[in-house]
């Protein structure tokens, strides 16, 4: 009897019998090339840093200030993106209306234009003598070359990620969740906070992570809009442009802690925050 029972077909384990081995090898080689392109610079960067150089960077107040500014402004950007991006993503995801596709395309513009162009565009409106910038300038508030300018720039280049994540989540959510809640006597606002937000929470966190990651890596638009105070990405560029890749010490005086070393610290911080967000997301959303 046992011999009549067929063993179940196993798929995608080992080399599938439906594809010739040569084909699978060709796919593997191409995949390997891309994998090398993606991973080798990171490994090389870490290999080029030195424990001494990393220590030197950690003791440098300018390095610490730049790293802190990056974490601070990127975090603030994520917060703004969530506060403003969740309502926009919700509206775009929930309602069908004339011009919705057009609006959808508009919010994707920051993803497709060169970032120096984004910086110029921002400068034409938030610059000290431009329409909005001049109003704030009148009250002594500078929108360029300041933390506020950095955040405006970063919101422009990165908040789309939060909006799109929320929009997709709202679209995927069964609208009857909200209908059930309201039929039980809950107002639209109560329903939004007690039913909708908990349903799309994981996507909000994902959007915030992507926004944070994108914001912390921005250089081009910041060069134009808010070069000072320098966030880590600009600070690293300055070190590289001034002193090359590695640390530079002259007669005991540290001229540069090394672009490579600061870059490694930046990667460590980004990865740590990325992992932390992922952990929060998993805890909140459950498995």
């Amino acid at each position: 009897m046992l011999s009549t029972v067929k063993e179940p077909v196993r798929r995608h384990q080992g080399v599938s019998s439906t594809f010739p081995l040569r084909f699978v090898i060709a796919l593997s080689v191409l995949s390997g090339i891309l994998f090398f392109v993606l991973v080798s610079p990171i490994i090389s960067l870490v290999a080029n840093s030195t424990p001494g150089g990393l220590l030197l960077s950690l003791r440098d107040s300018q390095v610490l200030a730049a790293l802190y500014l990056t974490i601070y402004t990127s975090g603030l950007t994520s917060l703004v993106a969530v506060l403003l991006g969740v309502p926009l993503g919700y509206l775009l995801g929930k309602y069908e209306f004339r011009g919705r596709s057009f609006l959808d395309s508009i919010i994707e513009i920051p993803l497709v234009i060169p970032h120096t162009v984004a910086g110029i565009a921002l400068l034409t409106i938030y610059g000290a003598y431009q329409p909005i910038g001049s109003i704030f300038n009148g009250y002594g508030i500078r929108l360029t070359n300041d933390v506020i300018g950095i955040v405006i720039t970063l919101v422009f280049v990165s908040s789309t990620y939060t909006v799109k994540q929320v929009e997709d989540a709202v679209r995927a959510m069964d609208p009857k969740y909200e209908l059930v809640s309201r039929s039980l006597g809950a107002s639209a606002t109560f329903t939004f906070f007690r039913v909708t937000i908990p349903n799309i929470w994981r996507s909000i966190v994902s959007g915030a992570i992507l926004t944070w990651a994108r914001a912390s890596s921005e250089v081009g638009a910041l060069f134009v809009m808010s070069y000072y105070p320098a966030v880590a990405s600009i600070f690293i560029w300055n070190l590289y442009a001034g002193y090359g890749l590695h640390e530079s010490v002259l007669n005991g005086v540290v001229l540069s802690p090394g672009a490579v070393n600061v870059a490694v610290l930046m990667i460590v911080i980004n990865l740590a925050i990325f992992v932390l967000f992922k952990m929060i997301q998993r805890t909140r959303g459950g498995k």
């Binding site: 069964d174 009857k176 969740y177 209908l179 059930v180 809640s181 309201r182 039929s183 039980l184 006597g185 809950a186 107002s187 639209a188 109560f190 007690r194 039913v195 908990p198 349903n199 459950g286």
Partner: protein, 347 residues
């Protein structure tokens, strides 16, 4: 007073339209809206609960026109097909949700939730998360959540579509019990004839966005017209005597049917036409049901023949073509329709 009145309701959505829907459901009635998939029953339910504003028509709940009210002010609880329990809340929190939204104090909330959970039979689930519940348990929680806010009307959208047949039978029984206890007006949407026959005080048949027929279950389900399959041999009756599990059910016109059931009071029963044996004479046998009558209609079904046998009530029997010719049956031939108690399905 009517529990719900729908007046001239029309609405279009994509390529589908509700056309001039008229409906009246008595207060405290268990009304089943019966229709095939795509007939418009969910769209009608959504109009009643307030998911959208219909193009024309009025919706009146216990005398109050709610057409222009938002869902939260209609006092209509909606229990959707897939339950949609709030996953971020435990069972108790789900049940208390509506009361919480209305600002009811926590001790009062808890007391009401406990009463409702007791009624629905889920007090043991109170602290459970919703992700671990079975289909039947989810349905009970969904029902408890709808009941807790003491609505004027409860809308149940295909509540038994995703549960196995054993659970379905249990929940049917519970729904009947809960309705008796609460006396709340219920509208239950289904495409399942048996569900409709088991529960309904009255049935509305909907198809292609139109209400085709409204009436008592035995009348509606027997009617083969109006684009909906008929149910043969379905009768409303009253259990008049009982010996252990054997019940005698009076279906009117001096006909008493013996059946195995623990139900009492008013019931619906059905006998499949294939389960009726047709005999020219009354023969002594173990079958307890013998309905004498006369053949009034003969329909050739190919390998089988369908007979309509009238004798007070009209029964339908399906016999083989060979038997039909051997017995030399014809319109007007007196016959006996015979069946065992186990062939009588009490719904």
């Amino acid at each position: 007073m009517d529990g719900l009145v729908v007046e001239n309701l029309s609405h279009s959505w994509k390529n589908f339209s509700l056309k001039d829907v008229q409906l009246s459901v008595g207060k405290g009635e268990y009304f089943v809206l019966l229709g095939p998939t795509g007939s418009g029953k969910t769209l009608l339910l959504e109009a009643i609960v307030g998911a959208y504003q219909p193009r024309n028509g009025r919706i009146i709940v216990e005398g109050e026109d709610v057409t222009n009210l938002p869902p939260e002010r209609r006092k209509i609880s909606y229990a959707p097909q897939n339950c949609l329990l709030f996953k971020n809340m435990k069972v108790r929190e789900n049940v208390e949700y509506g009361l919480y939204a209305k600002g009811i104090p926590s001790d009062e909330r808890r007391k009401t939730a406990e009463q409702v959970m007791q009624l629905v039979g889920i007090p043991h689930l109170a602290q459970r998360g919703t992700k671990t519940l079975s289909g039947g348990e989810q349905q009970r929680v969904s029902l408890a959540r709808a009941l807790a806010v003491q609505p004027k009307l409860i809308l149940l959208d295909e509540p038994l579509s995703a549960v196995d047949s054993e659970t379905k039978r249990t929940i049917l029984e519970e729904l009947r019990h809960i309705h008796e206890q609460t006396d709340v007006t219920m509208i239950h949407v289904t495409h399942d004839l048996w569900e409709a026959a088991s529960l309904a005080g009255s049935i509305g048949v909907i198809n292609a966005g139109k209400i085709l027929q409204v009436g008592e279950p035995d009348v509606v389900l027997r009617d083969p017209t109006r684009n909906y399959p008929s149910v043969e041999n379905i009768f409303k009756g009253i259990v008049v005597r009982r010996t252990s599990d054997l019940a005698e059910i009076d279906i009117g016109d001096n006909i008493v049917v013996d059946a195995i059931t623990d139900r009492s009071g008013e019931v619906m029963l059905q006998i499949r036409p294939e389960d009726l044996i047709v005999s020219s004479t009354s023969v002594p046998s173990s079958a307890r049901n013998d309905f004498p009558g006369t053949i009034t209609e003969i329909t050739d079904l190919g390998a089988t023949v369908r007979l309509r046998i009238a004798g007070g009530k009209t029964f339908t029997a399906v016999i083989t073509r060979q038997s039909f010719f051997e017995m030399q049956l014809n319109i007007g031939t007196p016959v006996h329709a015979i069946c065992k108690t186990t062939s009588v399905h009490v719904l």
